[in-house]
Subunit: 323 residues, 2 copies
Amino acid sequence: MKRLSEYAMEVEEALRDLNIGDMQPATLYAPVAYAMEAGGKRIRPTLLLMAAEAFGLAAAKAMPAALAIELFHNFTLLHDDVMDKSEMRRNRETVVKRFGADAAILSGDAMLGLAEEQIFGVEDGKYRRVMEIFNRMSKDVYAGQALDMEFEGRDNVTVEEYVEMIRLKTGALLGAAAEIGGVLAGVNDKVAGKLREYGENLGLAFQIEDDWLDTFGDAATFGKQIGGDINNKKKTYLLISGLNAGNEEAKALKVAVNELPAGDMKVKTVKRIYEKMHLDEIGRKDALKYSAKAMKAAKATGLDESQLDSFKYLVDRLSGRKK
Amino acid sequence: MKRLSEYAMEVEEALRDLNIGDMQPATLYAPVAYAMEAGGKRIRPTLLLMAAEAFGLAAAKAMPAALAIELFHNFTLLHDDVMDKSEMRRNRETVVKRFGADAAILSGDAMLGLAEEQIFGVEDGKYRRVMEIFNRMSKDVYAGQALDMEFEGRDNVTVEEYVEMIRLKTGALLGAAAEIGGVLAGVNDKVAGKLREYGENLGLAFQIEDDWLDTFGDAATFGKQIGGDINNKKKTYLLISGLNAGNEEAKALKVAVNELPAGDMKVKTVKRIYEKMHLDEIGRKDALKYSAKAMKAAKATGLDESQLDSFKYLVDRLSGRKK
């Protein structure tokens, strides 16, 4: 089994070979180069390459599509950071903070153009099919972001609605990465569908785990300050599950989140209510449920145990049990 | 010869048939529907359909690509209006003014996704070629917008640089529209190149004429207030030509544009300097130069005189001699 970090290194090298920093006009591409240099775990292209190799296609042949997926992901971060007015990402200033909103918008657009340009590098006979997956995925991601923004202003979001939102916003891209990897390797429609299912559920497990870590994680390994979601009144899996419980704790939770001023006391209070509602355990368990769904889909692709190892490893890593 | 307004009506109908207003989530697509309802002259899809029919392909077969071009154009307006903080367009509030910047950014992204989705409607064997033209065009348009923004902060922009900027920002899209129309109808690479050349030069003539009209036009027929560019210190063909003249008037122009407070007196003063420099005539003549280049390219496609009529009509209309 090839280690996931090897794929990530190959992606890093292929990204460097694009020489984005030399593209003209510099005012358009310098923010793109800056964003791509920030690194990150390169999970999505890794998944694409891993799926391609599992079905017999050398990673190098799948690399153009992997780069497209990673560029697309970073394009969405650029635009999301403008909308969220985020100032920091991966321990550096965001593009919007450093270059301004106009550059973040326009360079984001250019990044999407660059992403799609990479897809011309896939085999001719596969180009249209890959674009179909890519196009549907992009529309899903925008829909997910729209719902996420809509939910912030609504008080009655159900757990089902929240799960559908993260399926679109986070799951669709991982699903498309796995599916494209398979399609490039020539799998049939059924297997392609199972690969997508694997990626989507991996995304759900990852997002629910991420929500959990923001409240119950360890600041040192999580890499962000604990309690940020609580202080920002962010609609997370924990908060929505809690608010929908329909009991006394749900009422107390609503008051605590909406009325307490941001700060350590608020984080502590909300955390205590979550624990009283057993959401610390439930949140974790639900993440595991989606991890299990992901692995069930992976097994249904017909890969043998040894090939499934990397699919399992990725699930474990993203759902927080391996770092 | 089919009238250009007939193409525009067919485009309008096909846009209505997309039922964008019914697309979900509504928060994502309502701004898209609003933007597309605003109308406009539908020049770009008209050009695409016209080029397709001139080379023997029925407009209906080229409609998916025509819709893609029109959606793309409107997507760029959404993002441009955020960057320019524009409040009005086509006598209505802009999307950014009505729905806010976040919606304008995200719905713009969705609009681009919708544009590219239309291209799946073209004949299978042409899909990749159309996407290649579309992708290159999109990167040119972003580069043009980046240069436009860059020029606002620079004092030494040359006429050549300005022309290259509008070639990218305005010419590339019209060039791609004409080229795609031809490609769908099966023209060879040489003819496709000439069609692109026609569209690009049409765009240059149009933009230079538009710059001229903003200063020397008639408010009633121009549809915008005269002198807006002068009051906004906008780098236009007239201003850049004037500043680069290297004489006493150029110095006076620089002072007038930079030092005078916005208002009628400023517009009058700058206009008088332009007239002294004969830029009222030169601007017009240069627009005509690009119109002539456009028609030369159109003729080089090998179309006969009667077929060239609509290409001529479009040039005359966009360069302001027919409305």
